[in-house]
Amino acid sequence: MKDNQRFVTSYWRVVLLVARKDLRAEIRGRELISSMFLFAFLAVVIFSFALELDREARENSVAGVLWVTIIFSGMLGLARSMAVEKDKGSLDALLIAPVHRSALFYGKALANLLFTLVIALLLMVLLTVLFNISLFVWQVLVVLVLGCIGFTVSGTLVSSMSVYARARETLLPIMLLPVILPVLISAVRASGALLAGLKAEDWLPWMQLLALVDVVFLIITYFLFDYVVEE
């Protein structure tokens, strides 16, 4: 291998390597997924008690319960994934690597996306069993992926800012929730309409809006992440 090839890694390889690093750490430690899942499980149980759901109410509220739980448990993961990097000093090590900064960002976002998707899929199984409503419609899975992309991309950017704050645990939800409300609203509406078996004109606009928000987030974060981590 030539000298310059050893240091200049291609963009997508960096993305995959950073994501793989996070996945490997998770597979060895197994603390993130388990705590996120336990939280999600508890949230679903609490929702069932708090809303006192009968059959009809369950059908109406399942999309909302699904997404609120995904977002709250996903936020646990986001906060932790950045806090660990910063507290152990590995963020600085990543930043001095001679690679494009946005590749690091997308790598972190990809790992967060995979964690959130795992939780989301487990939640769907859980809700299918506990609420007795089958959630596995392929369009719902598309909405799930789109919603998780929007959530993790903006969440990774915001959490990389909030780790520097004094009250980082409170700052992350306060900063992130208003930003991702468009994602939450369109995802809930789209999956709600899909599960109710409505026509395409009832869920397709929401899905399109969701995809649009995702694209906007992906582009904005590409430009902004450099400014967040520079020093």
Binding site: V179, I220, V228
Partner: protein, 240 residues
């Protein structure tokens, strides 16, 4: 930045001008156009409602431009402009929301409804409130300014969403005053715009834009003064 007598003079003049404009615009809203046929006198709130929305739209736009300039130049004056505009914009959009709620009660029969437009403006308000929270939560001043600029840029997406949503969603009950819309006119509670109403609308928008600029100017001046005092304090303490 030093505040010369000359600058203070112009700020004072602009303050009087905007106070005069505000009084004139309010009197104009109450007297110049006739009462609306189906909504009656309460429709007069519309002039304040729209005017303050344009004022907040202006300040939030200034904030995003200032944020971009701050990231490019790292000049503190852009950061001050950005923070001041967001504060003034929050106040003005609170006026928009409150007047809207008062107007909605007799017209729609409820103060608040989860109409797409109302939802998006609530999101907008919360996003900028989070911006101020972010500023107060980060200690290192350089990092605070940088993160605030980044967040001001992200937050502007909520403003765009607020403006775009009534033009793309067919189920909004909020009227679209200008530009295309997909809802039919009778659902939106549209009213026929007479020349007198139009003049009042434009005068109010103009007034609120001037008002937001003057208020932002005052806010920047306070910020500059407090920086100046801080520096003075340090230099006096240093000489002791």
């Amino acid at each position: 930045m030093e505040y010369t007598e000359n600058r203070n003079f112009w700020l004072r003049v602009m303050t009087y001008v905007s106070a005069f404009l505000l009084v004139a615009a309010t009197i104009m809203s109450f007297t110049y156009p006739g009462a609306e046929r189906s909504m009656g006198e309460v429709q007069r709130l519309f002039y304040i409602h729209l005017g303050s929305f344009f004022g907040s739209f202006l300040t939030f736009s200034v904030a995003v431009v200032a944020g971009i300039y701050y990231l490019r130049t790292r000049d503190n004056k852009w950061d001050r402009l950005e923070a001041s505009s967001v504060e003034i914009g929050l106040g003005l959009s609170a006026v928009t929301i409150v007047t809207g709620a008062i107007w909605a009660r007799p017209t729609w029969g409820t103060y608040w409804t989860w109409d797409p437009r109302l939802t998006t403006i609530a999101i907008m308000w919360l996003t900028y409130a989070a911006y101020l929270f972010l500023r107060s939560a980060i200690e290192d001043p350089e990092r605070k300014r940088r993160f605030a600029a980044v967040y001001a840029i992200i937050a502007f997406s909520s403003v765009i969403l607020t403006i775009v949503i009534i033009r793309v969603r067919p189920d909004v009950i909020h009227p679209t005053v200008a530009g295309p819309s997909t809802t039919s006119a009778d659902v939106r509670g549209e009213f026929n715009v007479t020349p007198r109403i139009r003049d009042t609308v434009f005068f109010n928008i103009f007034t609120y834009c001037v008002l937001s600029a003057v208020l932002t100017w005052h806010r920047i001046r306070i910020e500059n003064k407090s920086d100046f005092i801080q520096e003075r304090k340090l230099s006096i303490l240093g000489n002791m």
